[in-house]
């Protein structure tokens, strides 16, 4: 049992960021090492992780700002750990993918590592104060990644991304305040401890429904914007289109997951105690996000924008599964988080590779690339198939579980999704694939070549992962299943768990 595993997990990339900032051209090696260690660490944690217990594991808790009731409390359970795993995996692959980065590499890799720090913090912190700090910190590296490595409209995109999400998180902060100031511990003191506060929301005498509704709405907004769900998604396409490939990957694979994580950790425990209308509202938002996202993707000209909207659509499944609130759907939604996190990487990487090999991302200008880059074509094909929910890859399992589970409580919405989204999703994937890759090779692309080995490698790795988790979902759904049952039940505080 590693002591302070989580703190190490957060500290090492931070250290790595500083080092690689000063490592100049050697930055990538430093970064790789600094991201491999957390990966190894998290795998080790996976070995030690008790899949069946609903207890927070690897908990560390120290007083930080006693006068405000702020503690440095971190720990993981089935909700957070899969995402921790995801973050460490994706970070490594992203760093490998951008091995050839030549523009200010030291800053570039430092920022990628900072990103890892932020998301790891969000997924592990059990104290709202700490949670919020990490939640905000994540914005900064992403702002710079978009802003200084981005495309033509990078400034607009970066600022829009920052302000849009920041406003949302401020609303969330207000809601957190409301929780904080309403609840008093038995000894009259205040606490930011997540689990304690969430457990308290069950108590009607402390949180009358009318009040809890407002708090709930505030928190919900914060998370839905991050997801992002319709109609709060418009920052996403801009950010993605302008961001550099690695930026998009991290954005889609990790940052969006923060929103989903929030749903499971914070929203679901409160759901039973708030106005029932919320279920309908969230369900509608989810359905619209899924269907609308798919149709938007169908209408896009830029392949990266297409992928961006596909993220909106896929994250909608997370919302749907979460709000459907059955064991199967919640498990599925958690798994969708994980699987989308993996699969979206390969999509954005493909888009990026096309961008810098061919020089354009406009689908209409592409054609017959498979003729010149067969290996890449195979991988991209596999990625797209995974994304459109081909059985055998992780995406299918997740969406199947979500739909099957959601039907029990939200039959109508589920059926709408099934009928309107499945074919559309397939349609835009195949259309893009066919237009870009197949058909006769265009004259102007006669001399394009396979992308670099490291790009192919990182993409192939993702395909392999998607296959592994598609064929053997149990590896991770066991953990999530436990978490799902635990989400269904009233929240246990750390003291009730007997952890501290």
């Amino acid at each position: 049992m590693i002591s302070n595993a989580i703190s190490l997990l957060i500290a090492i990339p931070l250290l790595g960021a500083v080092l690689s900032f000063y490592a100049g051209t050697k930055a990538k090696f430093v970064a790789l090492i600094a991201s491999l260690i957390p990966l190894a660490l998290s795998l080790q944690m996976y070995m030690e992780f008790d899949k069946t217990s609903k207890i927070m594991q690897f908990v560390e808790s120290y007083n930080w700002v006693p006068s405000l009731g702020v503690k440095y409390t971190v720990g993981i359970d089935g909700i957070g750990f899969p995402l921790v795993l995801l973050s460490t995996i994706v970070s490594v692959l992203v760093i490998i993918y951008s091995w050839g980065e030549t523009k200010k590499p030291n800053q570039y890799f430092a920022l990628l590592l900072l990103n890892e720090v932020g998301v790891l913090g969000v997924f592990t912190s059990l104290d709202f104060f700490l949670f919020y700090i990490f939640w905000e910190i994540v914005l900064i590296p992403m702002f710079f990644l978009i802003g200084s490595w981005g495309g033509p409209r990078k400034d607009y995109a970066a600022v829009k991304f920052f302000i849009y999400t920041h406003v949302a998180s401020l609303v969330m902060l207000l809601a957190i305040f409301a929780l904080y100031f309403t609840y008093q511990m038995p000894d009259g003191s205040r606490t930011f401890d997540m689990l304690t506060l969430l457990a308290a929301t069950a108590d009607k005498t402390i949180f009358p429904t009318s009040m809890l509704n407002i708090i709930f709405a505030g928190l919900l907004l914060g998370f839905l914007v991050k997801m992002p769900a319709f109609p709060f998604h418009t920052w996403l396409p801009d950010a993605h289109v302008e961001a550099p490939t690695a930026g998009s990957v991290v954005l889609a694979a990790l940052l969006l997951k923060m929103g989903g994580y929030g749903l499971f950790r914070v929203i679901l425990p409160m759901l039973p105690h708030v106005d029932k209308a919320f279920v309908t509202i969230i369900a509608i938002i989810a359905v619209i996000s899924i269907v609308y996202g798919a149709f938007m993707a169908l209408a896009q000209k830029d392949i990266k924008k297409l992928v961006a909207y596909s993220s909106v659509s896929h994250m909608g499944f997370v919302t749907l599964g979460a709000v459907a609130f059955t064991w199967m759907s919640v498990t599925g939604a958690m798994f969708q988080q994980f699987s989308h996190g993996i699969i979206t990487c390969v999509l954005f990487m493909s888009a990026g590779t096309i961008q810098h090999v061919v020089g354009t991302r406009v689908i209409a200008d592409l054609g017959g690339l498979a003729d010149r880059m067969p290996k890449f074509a195979v991988i991209m094909m596999a990625g797209f198939m995974a994304s459109l929910g081909l059985p055998g890859m992780s995406g299918f399992v997740a969406e199947f579980m979500v739909l099957t589970g959601s039907f029990a409580t939200l039959p109508v919405y589920t059926m709408i999704v099934v009928f309107l989204s499945v074919v559309t999703t397939a349609a835009y994937h195949l259309w893009a694939m066919q237009k870009a890759m197949f058909g006769p090779i265009l004259k102007k692309y006669m001399n394009v070549h396979e992308p670099h080995a490291y790009e192919l490698f990182s993409m192939a790795m993702i395909i392999v992962l998607s296959l592994i988790f598609g064929l053997q979902p149990g590896l991770i759904t066991d953990i999530m299943g436990t978490a799902a049952t635990q989400v269904m039940e009233p929240v246990m505080t750390l003291t009730e768990m007997g952890v501290i």
Partner: protein, 498 residues
């Protein structure tokens, strides 16, 4: 009366003597700028040590009960001393030659004035200290004698003296009403004989302090002066003398005029709301970085002013467990929050202005372009990495991004607002700090995202030391706020009837 009895005031005494000494020496020996710099820096450090030696002292009165040394005064003295120290350190690489002695002397005098204000409980001493600080800063604002300097100084001077005239008139009315110049007496008196004159007095006093605090509509001088004055002086104004306005307002309004609670509650509710909104809005379109910072500090003043509203709202409320500091009252928390934000803002603003000073100092004298124009900041990250990084952190801190001093201050302050039922004000403030991102991000994206415009900048030692010290302080407060919160709470307790 033995000498040691005055120990708590040695700091002021030391600085006064030092200031006089600096002037004398300066006139005696030629180009002794460097020496003067080191001298006054040393003096400030010494004074800081003296003040710090009894940081949380029981309130003790001196000089016929006109001067009170207590936690609050010490808190502000620390703020002023730190700011002046940073400014001096930065100035040491700018003011080396002729006239440096005057510069440092004025700076020290200004500091002394502020320190006097911070601990005066009698309107006479308060007025004297106030004027001492103002007069020296008038002179400082014009120090480099460029066109901009003089215009800035002129506006500052005229507006300032009008404001202090208002304040004096208000004081006179207060004296007439109470028959005494002691704040305590005024407090007692204002409870019974209470008339329109008192209201006028209150508002006139608010004008006087509002001018220093740069609350809308008493802020008009601030943007021009901060932009026009020598950058380091702007730092002193924004970070130092602004805070003097707050401490004076705390003492006079919260203690002496407590009877008019409803009135100043309303007044400050309006002022705070208008100030933060207007400041942020006006900042969005500025192209002069120092002007942006000026407006941002106006907005910050708006946030800090929330404390008055909180006290007004929560006055006399029963103490309860607001936070984990045992039973305390929302108004105390509010003041504590304001104090934290004052501390944080003082540091961030000093740092930011020092940064602008560094950039401006590298623009050749003759050049037509405004040295503070934002276009000069393009690609600063490449041209002056340390400065750019510090500026970056200061911007995020000003915007209230955790974990920085700015975040903690806002956090406690807004918490108190919510706690005392002023949710609308808290929401407005939070929306405002979101809006403020527009211009902070603009500066940042110029520094980091634009291509470098111009040659590499030589980062002089003095500036860099000051910047880095400030940076460390800002982050330290943000990451380990515990001690500071407690300190602020103790300081706040001074203002409230036990």
């Amino acid at each position: 009366m033995e000498f040691s009895h005055y120990a708590p005031l040695w700091g002021e005494a030391l600085l006064t003597i030092l200031a006089v000494l600096v002037v004398l020496l300066g006139s005696l020996m030629k180009n002794s700028g460097k020496l003067m710099g080191y001298l006054s820096a040393a003096g400030l450090v010494a004074a800081l040590a003296l003040v710090a030696s009894n940081l949380t002292i029981k309130p003790t009165l001196f000089f016929f009960d006109t001067i009170s040394v207590d936690a609050l005064s010490q808190f502000f003295k620390v703020v002023f001393l730190v700011v002046s120290l940073l400014v001096v350190i930065a100035s040491m690489s700018k003011y080396t030659g002729k006239g440096a002695d005057e510069y440092f002397a004025l700076l020290l005098f200004a500091t002394v004035g502020m320190m006097v204000v911070s601990s005066s409980v009698d309107i006479i001493t308060l007025f004297v200290g106030f004027e001492l600080a103002s007069l020296s800063t008038y002179a400082l604002a014009a120090f480099d004698r460029s066109r901009k300097n003089l215009e800035a100084a002129m506006k500052y001077f005229i507006f300032g003296s009008v404001a202090s005239a208002f304040m004096l008139f208000g004081f006179s009315l207060l004296y007439g009403m109470a028959g005494s110049t002691h704040l305590a007496d005024i407090a007692v008196a204002s409870l019974d004989n209470f008339g329109p004159a008192t209201l006028v007095a209150l508002l006139f006093v608010i004008v006087g302090f509002g001018f220093k605090m740069a609350l809308v509509p008493f802020h008009m001088w601030a943007p021009d002066t901060y932009e026009g004055a020598p950058p380091l002086v702007s730092a002193l104004l924004a970070a130092g003398s602004k805070k003097m306005g707050f401490v004076a307002a705390f003492r006079v309004i919260l203690i002496a005029l407590v009877a008019l609670r409803m009135e100043w509650y309303m007044a400050f509710a309006m002022l705070a709301a208008v100030t933060m909104t207007l400041g942020n809005l006006a900042a969005c379109w500025q192209n002069n970085v120092r002007r942006i910072l000026a407006y941002s500090s106006i907005a910050q003043a708006g946030y800090i002013a929330i404390a008055f509203v909180v006290v007004g709202a929560a006055y006399g409320a029963m103490p309860v467990n607001v936070l984990n500091m045992g039973p305390i009252r929302a108004d105390q928390l509010g003041i504590a929050g304001a104090l934290l934000l004052i501390l944080g803002h003082a540091l961030m603003k000093t740092g930011a202005f020092i940064g602008t000073a560094l950039v401006a100092s590298n623009v050749s004298k003759g050049s037509e372009t405004d040295p503070d124009d934002i276009s000069n900041y393009a690609g600063l990250a490449k041209r002056a990495p340390i400065t750019a990084f510090c500026m970056l952190i200061f911007m995020f801190a000003l915007a209230g991004i955790p974990p920085t001093a700015g975040y903690i201050g806002k956090f406690v302050l807004f918490s108190s607002a919510i706690y005392s039922g002023l949710v609308w004000l808290a929401v407005l403030a939070i929306l405002n700090s979101a809006l403020s991102l527009v211009y902070y991000l603009r500066i940042i994206s110029y520094m980091y995202l634009k291509e470098a415009a111009g040659p590499k900048i030589k980062e002089q030692k003095g500036y860099v030391v000051a910047l880095v010290l400030t940076l460390l302080a800002v982050v330290w407060i943000g990451v380990f706020p515990e001690a500071f919160i407690n300190w602020a709470m103790q300081a706040a307790a001074v203002l409230l009837p036990q």
